[in-house]
Symmetry: C2
Subunit: 123 residues, 2 copies
């Protein structure tokens, strides 16, 4: 990952709707989810979603695949991992404190079920 790719990816991620998109798509894995369902879940208009999907796909953070009349979108997990790796290793030069704070346990929010379940961090 070079610096300009990382910057593009960061700019794509630095938006509430698109961060929500990642959260929504992540549990769907490589199969992804169809555009219509994403729009409904995130409360976006069709064209609004298209705008955000294009930004994410342009940055390489998601991939799309057509299946019949649906287009499925899935997170490119290798790309997100590379971005985080770039920030950690290149921008922060592998700093130990950054690494430790990054590795610290956080509460996990699992977006399944009628309400999001919150699992507190284990100590």
């Amino acid at each position: 990952m070079d610096q300009s790719k990382a910057l593009t990816a960061l700019q794509a991620l630095a938006n509430a709707q698109r961060l929500a998109l990642v959260r929504h798509l992540m549990p769907a894995g490589d199969g992804g989810r169809p555009a219509g369902q994403i729009a409904q879940t995130l409360g976006l208009s069709a064209s609004g979603l298209s705008f955000h999907l294009a930004a994410m796909e342009g940055a390489g953070l998601i991939r799309s695949r057509r299946d019949g009349r649906h287009v499925f979108y899935a997170v490119d997990r290798a790309m997100i991992g590379s971005l985080l790796g770039h920030l950690l290793n290149d921008c922060c030069m592998g700093d130990a404190q950054v690494r430790d704070c990054c590795a610290a346990r956080h509460e996990l929010i699992i977006p399944y079920g009628p309400e999001d379940m919150v699992i507190p961090a284990a100590e």
Copy 2:
């Protein structure tokens, strides 16, 4: 780190000058560097730098301390680590593939000396 803080921090980082700022400040550690020196290194006007520093400080990514007529700025490494941890654990739900790609070795660029030294990734 909650979601709105993470978003603010991402927006602060999603800019070429401010990413360069992190790279420049990281090796200086908690002592940081004075604004004038930063402006010179990054080729920014005084007011331009001030704008970017305010964005970063507002997001909690850097801290400042006055020493005489200089103001020193240093990266808040715990904050950057928390941001990366949030992206990895909350947004990506600790996904194994993301984690692996993040942990993959990259070449390390050490910004000391007359020319930046590049240390290729060990295999």
